[in-house]
Point group: C2
Chain length 79, copies 2
């Protein structure tokens, strides 16, 4: 199984990296570019065969290690 | 519309950040953790209303600016 995790800055948190990319794209001639937000994407191979146990494990890992819950949200799927 | 872009290191490229996360998870008592790969995730708001034009624009931007084609692959969807 594989866990696919997306960690994004919360909507209320400023994202200067995204703002920089937005400005860069606009200055390079790309039109119609609105807000840009940048986060992390993780793919974790799981050797565990129980989907429910894997889900709980990944949820705990996201909350404790892989994201900062003060400023980031995460979502994930197990495949 | 919104473009959702994932930029990942190519399979043949070492990913030390992923390896560090794999070691950290294992040392913190999570079992069954295999290979970990870490990439970037971008969400770009598009004010353009033509999906096909947006697709071409995002593809060009990914290739030229948002990823390094030597060591990274990208994929995206327009919603």
């Amino acid at each position: 199984m594989k866990a696919k995790i997306v960690v994004m800055p919360k909507q209320a948190v400023l994202d200067p990296q995204g703002k920089a990319i937005q400005n860069a794209l606009t200055q390079m001639g790309y039109h119609g570019i609105g807000a840009v937000r940048v986060g992390k994407y993780l793919e974790i191979e799981l050797t565990n065969s129980d989907p429910e146990a894997a889900r709980q494990q990944i949820d705990a890992a996201c909350h404790k290690i892989l994201s900062n819950p003060v400023i980031e949200d995460y979502r994930f799927e197990i495949e």
